[in-house]
Symmetry: C2
Subunit: 166 residues, 2 copies
Amino acid sequence: MAAEADARDGEAALERAEQHCAARGAKLTALRRQVLGLILDSPVPLGAYTLLDRLKTTHPGAAPPTVYRALEFLTEHRLVHRIERLNAFIGCRVGCSDACADHGHEHDHAHAAQFLICGSCGGVEEIEDAGVGSALAAASRRAGFRPAHATVEVEGLCRGCAGLPG
Amino acid sequence: MAAEADARDGEAALERAEQHCAARGAKLTALRRQVLGLILDSPVPLGAYTLLDRLKTTHPGAAPPTVYRALEFLTEHRLVHRIERLNAFIGCRVGCSDACADHGHEHDHAHAAQFLICGSCGGVEEIEDAGVGSALAAASRRAGFRPAHATVEVEGLCRGCAGLPG
DNA sequence: CTCCTCGCGTTATATTATATTGATCATCAG
DNA sequence: CTGATGATCAATATAATATAACGCGAGGAG
């Protein structure tokens, strides 16, 4: 993980976001696109006010609602994820937006991305493990619970910070 | 679930908390005990300031640090859990404190309680499903990640609110 | 053109969390 | 008993996070 942003990844994700929104009639305005770009550029999750500060450098009039509204749009459309533990946001790099955009549904099936949060470098990796998803679904069912959305955030040490072989 | 507190449960949990603290030399002061009682009495998670308001009715001098310090103590000792999605706290009713208190370790093994949050009645059920725990551990390992603590919060509908047979 | 919706700006406010400092109290050595 | 020590708690101030309320202006539908 090692806290480095991959700009090419970011570009690709922005591209996908464009197409994703176009396909659904959602308006990825310049402001929203810029916020998404800022998030994708960062290797670590960004808080709303960090984001606001960065936004201000190119967009002086920005205020808290500016960024919160953009984040609302972006999270609704699954272009970014909110990390609850950190009150922060990270770009979605799993192909999910891609994969699901075209066949028209609104992600009715349970999405269960998992976030691996490194306590040392602050980096976050997003995975989507089928085993975790099905275990969660099974456990919920056993409890008589009908799950809609799961937040799975694991804190620990990433490969690099744990000193494991790369 | 149906948003109802079970007072007997609360009493029992308070009792267990006493013993748990006594066994570990931790001081469950009157204030901490009262905060724990308030949390256990509530069927839904309580925010820090809701808690503060309730605390004030019997303890006029209470201020934010009062409740935050109590919560810090209670969460450290696993007597209450913090629900990250909600910035709120709920009492621990799983026997974990019991089970682990006596054999002296500090919960070094990975605990992976899961919280089922009903979007309708606001109730929260705590479960500890081994399958979820092991799936998470396996997924982390595959990603080269060394997990320390996992937050698993599932939003959906509880048995009662989903209209399923009881 | 007029109505309407939506994105956005702006101000103010609410909610959640931490920092700092001083007061209180139990314990125990001398 | 006295005073030192450490833990707990209180009170105030401040920071960080989030939302409410109001209005303006652009752009499409009728």
